[in-house]
């Protein structure tokens, strides 16, 4: 038989006391009965607070932080207390529900229900009133601008992971030959963009690609500054179809190489040096050793990095939205989805685009999760 303890302090101090003594029970009951309504009230308060713009921002933020952080712990504590009040037989059954219930509830409300709903409204018209079957999907597959979006997204997924992995792998291999201190610094510098948001990176690169027509002042973008210094004409990079897609892709590559480099570098260091030494003694060149020994040994890591970057790339939204807004033939699916939804209020098309995003991701992620699981089991 289990004896639920009434409080964490209790077990160390008063072992042997009856935890269900009447006074204690009454106290716990009072607290529990009050706790849950209080929490609901507090949540409502947080909602109201963030709507009321008269309250000073700092106070608003402080209260929000306190409620958000303490509130969630208070909720579990109150539920655990409530379960302790139940007869022992019931408490044993109810306690797992306390622990796992909120997670299941949140997942149902924020993933299962909306995903199902999105699939359903993708079969309805843009006002979500009339069932239209697969019309939204056939519109997407046949209309020119959506086709462009899909083609561009596919190009992104082909180019960005491949180049991120190639540059990351190359860099990891090269810096592996440096002194450890220099290597750490060199890696940090490449890795740094990982801390930058996609919007931030877009601003960084806006100052690389900045273009002014001739006669409208000096070029302040570095690339055009270089071109002009070399006596060439400045280029409006983000207008050059189809190359502008490549210039946008490079921003994401710039962001993702750090990730790929760090993970691959760790994998390279895991390859036994004896193998590489042996291959060198057998007369293999540095390149052959790399191709025939290192790469096959870290193949599974390469796949993981590749697929991870591919998924990020497939869902890219911010860079395109900020840099071009999808104009000049740079639209991609994830950005079109948000555009359909918020700018044009075409819910049917928007939902269908979301479903296309989703379906394409499934096989890649299943492979990734399986691989991760296998890795965890080996540890």
């Amino acid at each position: 038989m289990t004896t639920p303890l009434s409080s964490p302090e209790y077990d160390s101090t008063s072992e042997g006391l009856d935890p269900t003594s009447p006074a204690r029970r009454r106290f716990t009951k009072a607290v529990t009965v009050l706790a849950i309504p209080t929490l609901i009230f507090v949540f409502a308060l947080a909602v109201q607070l963030s709507k009321d713009s008269d309250i000073p921002k700092l106070a608003q933020v402080a209260v929000a932080l306190l409620l958000g952080v303490l509130g969630i712990w208070a909720l579990y504590w109150a539920m655990d207390r409530a379960v302790s009040l139940l007869p022992a037989r019931w408490a044993v059954r109810a306690r797992p529900l306390v622990f796992v219930g909120p997670a299941l509830l949140a997942l149902t409300v924020f993933l299962v229900y909306p995903a199902t709903h999105t699939i359903i409204i993708s079969f309805f018209d843009n006002g979500s009133d009339v069932f239209v079957g697969l019309d939204n999907y056939s519109t997407i597959l046949t209309e020119d601008k959506y086709q462009r979006g899909i083609i561009n997204s596919v190009l992104w997924v082909l180019a960005v992971p491949a180049l991120s992995v190639a540059i990351g792998l190359g860099y990891a291999t090269l810096v592996d030959k440096l002194r450890p201190r220099t290597e750490t610094i060199a890696k940090s510098l490449i890795f740094l963009p990982m801390a930058i948001s996609f919007v931030g990176a877009s601003v960084v690169w806006a100052f690389m690609y900045y273009f002014r027509p001739e006669g409208f002042g000096a070029q302040i973008g570095l690339l055009n500054g270089i071109l002009v210094a070399l006596g060439l004409d400045p280029v409006n990079w983000l207008n050059q179809e189809p190359w502008n897609n490549g210039f946008l892709m490079f921003i994401l590559i710039w962001l993702q190489v750090g990730f790929s480099m760090v993970i691959l570098s760790a994998a390279i260091k895991g390859v036994p040096t004896e193998l590489q030494e042996a291959s060198r003694i057998d007369g293999a060149t540095e390149w052959q050793t790399f191709r025939r020994i290192t790469v096959p040994m870290i193949a599974s890591t390469i796949v993981v990095v590749w697929t991870t970057v591919a998924i990020t790339t497939w869902k890219v939204f911010d860079i395109v939205a900020v840099m071009t807004g999808g104009r000049n033939g740079t639209q991609v699916i994830a950005q079109q989805m948000v555009e359909e939804f918020f700018d044009f209020r075409r819910f049917g098309i928007g939902a269908a685009l979301a479903v296309i995003l989703f379906i394409a991701v499934i096989p890649i992620l299943v492979v990734n999760i399986r691989r991760f699981q296998a890795q965890e089991e080996m540890r």
Binding site: I167, F191, V203
Partner: protein, 291 residues
């Protein structure tokens, strides 16, 4: 091995080494220069930012009139101070809440007996494949009905839902690998699940909690889409990235403010990056299966 051979090898080594250095330098410079240029620009006079490239400071580095903090001042007064606080109020609970919920659930999946445990856990793992784009429209409709749009709790809960599958999965894997003897002996001593969880499991799980916390922190702080949709673009409600994207969309007029604004946005993630790099890397590795 003859003398000439080793000499050749030696010479080959030197030129190869030079080649390696050149290659490393080229990549490093390409990767650092854009950010460095922006950083330099952020401290220049607004007039200079608009009329000349950041590299022109090379000739006037020592001239004090080149440098100013004015841009940061203007940016902080013009909404970014507010947006910083908003982002903080969004991010901290949006890290703590999913972490807490996932930790309780992970403990239950690892160490509690209840019907359907394994199937439910598989469902949670399976939900990792759902991109958040799938959830945007219905959740926004739900929030509109409940009049929750534009509130902090609304965005905390959305981020909680999106972060939970990965968090639960990572924490469950970690907690499940902890030695069961520790828990057995605690149970013999009369500790209940609450005590075992808070006193034993949580302290032992600090590494994985830290990794996920950092991953989620970066994710939420750097997020643009979720904040744009659930908090909106009202000036009072904007988080940093929404504010920055708005500024970037204003064209030439806002040009001189963009560099400083971008760095205000990056400040905290960069601090985390430099301060907690090891956990940071671990967090990224762990996040590699997020959908």
């Amino acid at each position: 091995m003859s003398g000439t051979d080793s000499e050749n090898v030696g010479q080959g080594r030197i030129s190869r080494k030079a080649l390696i250095y050149v290659a490393i330098s080229i990549i490093t410079i390409t990767w650092v220069l854009p950010t460095l240029g922006l950083l330099i620009n952020s401290f220049r006079n607004p007039q200079d930012i608009r009329t000349s490239g950041w590299w022109t400071v090379l000739g006037e580095v020592l001239d004090p009139s080149t440098w100013t903090l004015q841009n940061y001042q203007v940016v902080l007064d013009e909404g970014f101070g507010n947006a910083f606080l908003n982002t903080l109020a969004v991010t901290v609970p949006a890290v703590v809440i999913p972490l807490t919920i996932a930790a309780f659930a992970a403990y239950a999946f690892a160490w509690m007996e209840f019907p359907g445990r394994n199937i439910l856990f598989l469902v949670v793992v399976g939900l990792m494949v759902v991109p958040l784009q799938m959830a945007l429209i219905p959740i926004l409709r739900l929030y509109t009905t409940l009049d929750l749009t534009g509130t902090f709790p609304a965005i905390w809960l959305a981020h909680t839902g999106f972060g939970l599958p990965l968090a639960t999965y990572l924490l469950r894997n970690y907690m499940g690998s902890l030695p069961s003897e520790v828990m057995e002996s605690a149970r013999v001593d009369g500790a209940n699940h609450w005590v075992i969880f808070t006193r034993i499991i949580l302290p032992l799980s600090v590494p994985v909690l830290a990794s996920f916390a950092i991953f989620q922190f970066l994710w939420v702080w750097n997020d643009y889409l979720v904040a744009l949709i659930f908090l909106g673009i009202e000036p009072d409600k904007r988080v940093l990235n929404v504010e920055l994207a708005d500024l970037a969309g204003r064209g030439e007029g806002a040009l001189s403010l963009l560099p400083a604004a971008a760095f205000v946005t990056m400040l905290l993630p960069l601090a985390v990056f430099f301060g907690l790099q090891r956990y940071f890397v671990r967090g990224l590795t762990a996040g590699s299966v997020k959908g």
